[in-house]
Assembly symmetry: none
Homo-oligomer: 200 residues x 4
């Protein structure tokens, strides 16, 4: 038994019949999501699930640690920045949401270095998070949690280095928000400048 | 009324109670997904939904057009490659699945160029897909669909340029698969070397 | 920078000086256009541009899908019919031109229903086009294009249900014509009873 | 010589070559206008010309007197309301602009009644403007100009009776603006609550 294929059959049997009209409208009219989410690739933190979202609702980037690099329009392959450009300039989303989470392996790699066998790309990628690691301070007690919150703040700050994001925010056309999801309690918290506020 | 917060409340009321034990185990033991998915950011093609997956089941990268760049371990920020390294070398997934889809805006950008207002990053990113555009040929009839299938084949071929992926595949520890999702009919097709086969 | 205001300044600097005498004459004598155009609201299909028209040349109605409802002089608000009455009975235009176009969102709404979030008015409005949808037949291949042509034919037929239009046409004082504009190729085609003929 | 066909040939020869890339991108990506304009059908007041707009820039309704009826989602054919729904809910324009003008025949019909030969539809249509006629007062000196400004204010007020327009305005996603164009001087004035301010 193949779990992916079993899952797809369940989708066909249980989800497709009720969502069919929505998918057909989305096929005819194209997508028009209000919200873009930058979330972690972690299998426990699926934004579609956490926000109980319907098809067409969320334009989603998922990468290691939900990181946004600073604006840097050079010739390299910038997957996250290209997705941001698509979401903000082509789809004109009204909301950009960064979703970090507890026990993040990407944050662990920032704090302690990646596992020795995995240093082709992870080390360079999590280097984006260095300012967050520094902002979190040296105190060991709760350090990983502090870095996790600082990484969300850093991604939000990096978003503002994209001129067309800063401009849309200034014009009131775009809102930026940060959240942290706690896998253990299932609680989502809003990430403010100073503290976390659980969403009621 | 905020649809994201409403969605989260629905998650808390309807999903969390039945999934709580799973999330708690995933918090205590860490994630251990069998499958890694590379899918498109498109809001209509959420892999968690299409595979009716449970928390902890899928490690997910989502970027524009579900593209995998060729192996290139230089100093740039390689978000997708870093996630692949995390999935294959740290989490040791047994399966790598590329999910493309119909009406893909990223493929449209490959075929016709990005919209004029969005050329900071998208043009460079979809350049990864150039061999797929060439493989699809010039015939206009059905060209976008042909490119969509070729992009999945290209991403699968690029995965094999990562030495630790090729090695794991050769050793039988890792399987690569490609699928295409049709938004209009909700049908998933397996992408073979020559043709597409709808999943029954 | 406000693009509308910038555009107006460009009008003042570049268009007004050469068109000033024409505008002044049009202010002193009133408008006396030879042609009335019913075109779509679509931003890509501006009749003033496509016909390279000068101020005073075209009396223009623009609505969703360039639809003309059948004659129905009841108490409702009939914006398009009121404009027709103004054009034909007050301004005495010699020519009534319906301009449809490819990729029309209004025709898409006729064929597949409006997007779910937009059903206060669009559904009722595009109901005018139902006979065109039926005339286009069920074959999926090229269906939207066939409907687009049938909508132009339907609007021309509906124009003839207005007694004072039918009368003016019978008397040779008024000519009705239908065109389709292809956004992709920029080609205008004349809509005949059976086929389209590109304008040379 | 047919002036429309001559105009189209001029478009093909002089406009298409420089605008071709823009039209092709608009064909591939669909329209995405920032602004919707409600303007008069009058042949002297073409908004594409006055705002020196490019293809794809303005989604345009043109009817007699640039009137917006109050929100009234009944079963009648509401062409202007359907276009508003398309612009605001489907295209998500950021700006709704009402453009009235001097010497408006529709306003004349409001003030003095339509010509006797044209009372099938115009009388009912311009009835929408009755509150503007009353707001303009009885003084004969400058009465038509006062009504013209009041009609713009009325259309702006009627726009706010559409719940999804009021909501988008409240959320900062949509801006409403009114202008009056003077055919004789070519000057555009911004219509404020109390007075007109020429645009510099």
């Amino acid at each position: 038994m193949d779990p992916l294929i079993e899952g797809y059959r369940k989708f066909r049997a249980e989800i497709w019949p009720t969502e069919r009209a929505r998918y057909e409208a989305l096929a005819h009219w194209g997508q028009s999501p209000e919200t873009m989410v930058i979330a972690c690739s972690d299998s426990r933190v699926d934004p579609q699930t956490i926000f109980a979202a319907v098809p067409g609702e969320l334009f989603v980037v998922r990468n290691v640690a939900a990181l946004v690099p600073p604006y840097s329009p050079d010739v390299g392959y910038h997957g996250t920045s290209a997705a941001l450009e698509f979401g903000v300039k082509v789809l004109k989303v009204a909301r950009l949401v960064v979703v970090g989470h507890g026990q993040c392996g990407g944050v662990r790699a920032m704090a302690f270095g990646p596992p020795p066998q995995a240093r082709d790309f992870i080390a360079a990628w999590v280097e984006i998070g260095r300012p967050a690691v520094e902002a979190a301070g040296e105190a060991q007690e709760g350090r990983q949690s502090r870095i996790e919150a600082e990484v969300v703040r850093l991604s939000l700050a990096n978003l503002m280095t994209f001129p067309w994001i800063a401009e849309a925010v200034a014009a009131g056309r775009l809102v930026l928000q940060g959240y942290l999801f706690d896998v253990h309690t299932g609680v989502l918290a809003s990430v403010g400048k100073e503290k976390l506020t659980p969403v009621e």
